[in-house]
Symmetry: C2
Subunit: 387 residues, 2 copies
């Protein structure tokens, strides 16, 4: 593209993250192309062109070439080889195949972080049941056995309480088919997350530290800025920079961390994409993680990450059951002042599926969180039958 043409953005994957990226792209007047397995996801109604195809297959991505100036991802599961093939066709892909190859293998990701000097929980490759047992004996039980690939939201992990439980955990994770590694139990008091946007020219924009509160291994609430001492926040933002640079990341990344009682930080994992813990940036910050992601992958100047209001609290809206993707209770939720409701537009709800979120803005975390939770409680997905 010439430096003065309006960009054409291609995204692989059409869920809520792609939807919010496309919303930013639309505001800026960009052309948008989506590649997805099925053409009716949340992002489908916001694009100029939909390419239907399975992004596991190299050939499915080829039609993107020529149609867009840059390709980006809404998830880290697109095979790195597929992305490398697209790059070989001359299409810029950000984050690139090199970054994705590291990040999508959690063992390699952790090794890369450790080599860069970033603190992580202790971990070790455990290619066999015996290796896993000696890891447990060394770091102590319980420890966490994890799939190297394709895990998310706690799926692909198993806590192993002692040697007796190991064979069952191994079997549950299908250790004979999946590569597994062991991670020491890190006794944390808080989970923190940083959204950081890194441009193709190396510029970085770091968002305020966020406190992530999980429920059943899924992000439930985020509080921004995280209620921690300044020196902890500063260390966390530095760690996020270190982590993203270690994998040569480009775009908005979510860096999840643990904080223990002694104030020590450890990187839990990197998400090479816009991240659930950064949804608050849409209403809460001058420039959202979504717009900054687009700016970063184009090499455009990055936007201001400062908050527009003192605090922002996000609450995820998960499917209460299997059924229609239509929510009930939106009207009661929006009655609460200072609350923005996002409904992703998924056709089907499944129990625990991310169906939307609410963000509340306000002066104090405590009061803002009360409003956010109260709004979220009004809304239910999946309690109606599918039409």
């Amino acid at each position: 593209m010439t430096s003065e043409s309006q960009p054409r953005i291609g995204i692989i994957g059409g869920g809520q993250l792609a939807k919010m990226l496309f919303q930013s792209a639309r505001t800026l007047g960009f052309t948008t192309v989506l590649l997805d397995k099925e053409p009716h996801g949340p992002a489908a109604g916001l694009v100029d062109e939909i390419l239907t195809g399975d992004w596991n297959e190299t050939e499915a991505l080829a039609p993107m070439a020529g149609k867009v100036d840059v390709v980006t991802l809404e998830n880290e599961f697109v095979p790195a080889d597929t992305l490398a093939h697209l790059e070989s066709l001359g299409v810029p892909v950000y984050p690139g195949s090199k970054t994705i190859r590291i990040v999508q293998d959690k063992l390699l990701q952790k090794q890369t972080l450790r080599n860069a000097g970033a603190p992580t929980p202790e971990f070790e490759d455990t290619p066999t049941l015996e290796a896993a047992k000696s890891f447990g004996d060394r770091v102590g039980w319980p420890f966490v056995l994890k799939k190297r690939r394709n895990g998310y939201d706690g799926k692909g992990n198993a806590t192993v309480d002692g040697p007796d439980q190991l064979p069952a955990a191994w079997a549950a994770l299908e250790g004979d088919q999946n590569e597994l590694y062991g991670e020491a139990f890190f006794s944390y008091t808080q989970e923190l997350a940083v959204i950081i946007t890194r441009s193709i020219n190396g510029a970085e924009a770091v968002y305020p530290l966020t406190h992530a509160i999980q429920k059943n291994h899924i992000c439930h609430v985020t509080e921004s800025p995280a209620p921690v001492p300044d020196h902890v926040a500063e260390a966390a933002l530095d760690l996020a920079r270190q982590a993203v640079e270690a994998v040569e990341g480009v775009g908005s990344f979510g860096v999840e961390m643990f904080l223990d009682r002694q104030g020590r930080l450890a990187v839990n994992e990197l998400a090479p994409r816009v991240h659930n813990t950064g949804h608050y940036t849409i209403e809460g910050c001058y420039c959202s993680q979504f717009e900054n992601h687009l700016r970063a992958i184009l090499g455009w100047p990055l936007g201001q990450t400062a908050m527009r209001t003192p605090t922002a609290v996000m609450v995820n809206l998960l499917g209460a059951g299997d059924g229609s993707g239509e929510p009930v209770g939106i009207q009661s939720a929006i009655e609460i002042p200072g609350v923005s409701v996002h409904v992703y537009g998924k056709t089907e709800s499944r129990k625990g599926r991310k169906m939307g979120h609410v963000t509340a803005l306000g002066a104090s975390l405590q009061e803002t969180r009360m409003r956010a939770e109260r709004a979220a409680e009004q809304i239910r997905f999946g309690i109606k039958q599918t039409a």
Copy 2:
């Protein structure tokens, strides 16, 4: 619709106002249908279904029935009879045909406002050249001769300096084909505007008073909140309420006013739709004029109109010439902190056409305006040739 179904919203007209309405509708997960003369306008990429048709023709609107729960407008030029026909098919239309019938005839609009006790500049029906001359003799020269219908952004108005100029003005406005009326020159020091959202159940949400600075009869800059004494702001918000109630308006309305040296207010005109002077509410307020419009026409609770930051300044981006709708200079503009850029996505630029806008947020109007103007100066439309 049942009270718990996700709403289906139909909009007549597919320009930038429809685009921003649809963006809000998408965030809330609503289904969207557009009726427009041509299917490639700014709103086209954000809808579930496009109906192509001329909204001057009654039959063109009929396909909306059954597809949507409520129909709304992005301009006041859709004939009231056409809307009345749609209403007769059982489709709720807001604002309704009764309101549009009043507002689209500027003489009837002013009469309605005056009858409700709202101050306006002096005016009179001038069906003939002779009537116009006696109006001028009575209120003094210069006065403004105006078309009763289809005027906007200063088009359809002529300032008449004296009796000698009257025939030329009459001819320029084609007074023999168009109904004209006379309006006394109101010597104002500031133009002010209020966005007010009124629900089908009568609830009202009033946004902060905005100072509108025109250039060549087109809104150039808005400053919010307007730098006027509190008692003026309070009187202006009250006047906006009075005006919208006088026409039984439903939805977000822009109420344009004059303020004179003595601190007197007069309503200039009503826009029965989301309004250019309310674009700052997207980034600047807890709930934008666009989301509140949707809430209002659905009878949902209205959102908070308070500002998230102390001040917001918007600058319109007008076509610098005829040519491609692609902007140049966006990258330089977004380098300025705290600035959001909106590119409407019109294919063609024409000199003076509204192609986008920028909004800056900040602590003081003066400093915020400097950033907004600086950003706007970077961006040019219509200097490239059409591809």
